[in-house]
Amino acid sequence: MTATDPQPGANARTGSCGVRPAPDGPPPPPRKRAFDWRAALAPGLISSASIIVVFGALYWLITSAEQWPRIKAQFFNIDHMIAAAPRVAQGFLTNLQVWLIALACIGVWALVLAVVRSLRGPVFAPFRLMVVVYIDVFRGLPALLLVILFGFGIPALSIPGLPNSGLFWGGVAMVLSYSAYVAEIYRSGIDAVHEGQRAAAKSLGLSEWQTLIYAILPQALRNVLPALMNIVVALQKDVALLSVIGVRDAVREAQIYTATTFNYSSLIVAALLFLLATIPMARLADWVNQRDRARRLQMAE
């Protein structure tokens, strides 16, 4: 049935916008207006012209500045960019690897922390306390400090049996720091699950553990997905902190190039690569957020 068919048996209401009611049915829905070129033309022209004028003026202002040629040569030199691109891109692959591995570790470790913190039995008190202290400490320290502390400090001990690479320990520092935040996000999601869900699970004979796994956590994870997406984007950038302990990531590689050529275009290449990765992730995060809001609206109905 198309939307304009009269609904059999429905009451004929008088239309509110001048549409004549059908004799034995409700009035048709308002017609979708076709795109009106003439109406859209003027605002379109004005906004285009305005964009051209404003950006044109900015372009003229910047490029006609006395220092512009020096700035261009220092930061946007195409030859240097092309020369630096392969090694910076190679470094960026390291960024992506660390990002993905750290994400997986953070996701699991933070979940363990959050679950331990939300266990209710009195026997678990010491473990809950441990998690509270852990979160307070690692959320309270700058990630940079942790990266330096772990990345330089632990390899310097050269303890037998432990890996000695700065990359490994820098990654550990990122995981420790980020998991404190993510644990709190998980916990807020667990707390947001309605108490009635626990009552229902308990009344069906599920143990506390089973309640958590089968009833609470699936809902909690769905609750916090948008917040987690923001963490994913933030971590993508913060992996660059590892460059300070000598990990040859995109930033480090760009710096090495700069050190030999005294030209900063390589850093712009690294910046472009980061944007290339983070902007789509941010859009994805927005999309997840929007879908989540739609779901909540639907549930609230």
């Binding site: 309605h194 009635g196 869900q197 009552a199 229902a200 699970a201 308990k202 009344s203 069906l204 004979g205 599920l206 143990s207 089973q210 089968y214 009833a215 699936p218 809902q219 769905r222 639907q298 549930m299």
Partner: protein
Amino acid sequence: MAEIAIRGLTKYFGNRLVLDRVDLDVSAHEVVCLIGASGSGKSTLLRCINRLIEPDHGSITLGGVPVGSAQFGRTGLQQRVGIVFQSYNLFPHLTVLDNLTLAPRKVQGMPRATANERAREILSLFGMDRFATAYPEQLSGGQQQRVAIARAMMNAPDVLLLDEVTAALDPELVGEVLRIIHDLKTRGLTMVIVTHEMGFARDVADRVCFLYDGRIVEEDTPDRLFTAPQAPATQAFLARLIASGRL
């Protein structure tokens, strides 16, 4: 002997006395309705029976065995006593079918095929088999509550506790839920029902208990309690209901 025997049940929430030395016997196959104003302790009393709430004093026995006893094992009590809540409390991330089969599979280790078969049987009993693969949020309130009752019946309990199961429903959806409860009564289930639907209480209950300030101040057959209440508190409560047109 009483199926459920409650003696001297007392519960505080902080300093507030919610249940004050309640005694109540429920025989097997009997349907008892608990009525009373909000905050009179009806739901608390109900939740003490399956130990969702731990009483401070007093005892509850089920078939002569204290409900806290090790004799029930970890989940024995939950196998014998089902509960349905006002807000359904279905698991929103699971389909109707999985809502029903989760506990039997995980608690009793029932194979999925067996559990599914049993779940479909119960759903069709309640006219809900069409919705086996739907998610709770796709159902109306009345349908969700029917699923919740079906879920409580998966363990084939002897006793069913109903906590204001129609209070959250639109008036036109109340009937479909009440019909099921009637049906369960004819199957010989022992039921303790907290309700604000006086017409329903009158209709389905073998006995009605009126709670006031944490005490059962009057219990009688519905006919006598609703037409000739003895306690002043009951009279005042029923008078208020009549004045507001709900009785």
